[in-house]
């Protein structure tokens, strides 16, 4: 009798999908912004715990050359691309 294949579980599939999405996000950021001048001008205060988590994650994703600011930039870029117009649209539909 065939048992449930662990490798075909939806959670694992989602995990794989997320992993490739994260890498794709990083590759896209690297292609678009990696070699360009980074104008990080506005200071933002971040809690030590969150900063540390970001630091570790940035290292895991892009190695030592990928700094917290770069990771922050990548996350915000994706967030704004995805949801940037959503709020204005929702407000105008009210």
């Amino acid at each position: 009798m065939k048992t449930n294949d662990v490798n075909s579980s939806p959670a694992l599939a989602e995990s794989e999908e997320n992993r490739s999405r994260l890498k794709e996000m990083y590759q896209n950021w690297l292609k678009e912004k990696g070699n360009k001048e980074k104008n990080y001008e506005v200071p933002y205060l971040i809690s030590s715990e969150l900063y540390h988590a970001m630091e570790v994650a940035a290292y895991a994703l892009g190695g030592e050359n990928f700094k917290v600011e770069d990771y922050l930039d990548m996350i915000l870029e994706n967030h704004l691309k995805k949801f940037g117009n959503l709020i204005e649209n929702a407000n105008s539909n009210k």
Binding site: Y40, V42, Y44, L45, I46, L50, A53, V56, A57
Partner: protein
């Protein structure tokens, strides 16, 4: 003599009244800004998700995925304990516009960015762990 006693009693009563008013004002201002003062690691934040204080009323037609962003509690971070990071002026301005459009009590640029970062780290937690394991695996191989 009796006048001096009378003045002292009046001063005493005035001081008690001022003190009471001050305590009431502090309580009121604290109740206005219900914020969780914590710097808990991401894993410990789960327990706050069911806290009614962090539930925000639906914002019209906003996407469900977007609304999930607000299910994470805002991180209140005392300035002295925080670290400085820098972001692009354009993104800062865009987020300022979004925060203004959202107009949610307690959500400012700082807490908004915190929520976005927290959401990202929680969403990709297992993938980041996996990448980290790979990093350390490589380091160990190089060390050997």
């Amino acid at each position: 003599m009796s006048t001096a006693v009378f003045v002292m009693v009046v001063l005493l009563v005035a001081m008690v009244l001022i003190d009471t008013a001050l305590v009431l004002w502090i309580h009121k201002s604290q109740a206005k800004n219900i914020k969780l003062k914590h710097n808990a690691p991401l894993a410990q934040m789960q327990e706050y998700e069911d806290d009614e204080r962090f539930h925000i009323a639906p914002l019209g037609n906003l996407d469900e995925e977007y609304m999930n962003l607000f299910s994470n509690p805002p991180m209140d971070k005392p300035a002295r304990r925080g670290k400085s990071a820098y972001l692009r002026d354009a993104y800062h301005e865009r987020i300022r516009q979004i925060v203004n459009a959202l107009n949610i009590d307690g959500v400012n640029i700082s807490s908004y960015v915190d929520m976005v970062l927290t959401d990202h780290l929680m969403r990709y937690e297992s993938q980041i762990d996996h990448l980290l394991n790979n990093c350390y695996g490589k380091s160990r191989k190089l060390a050997n």
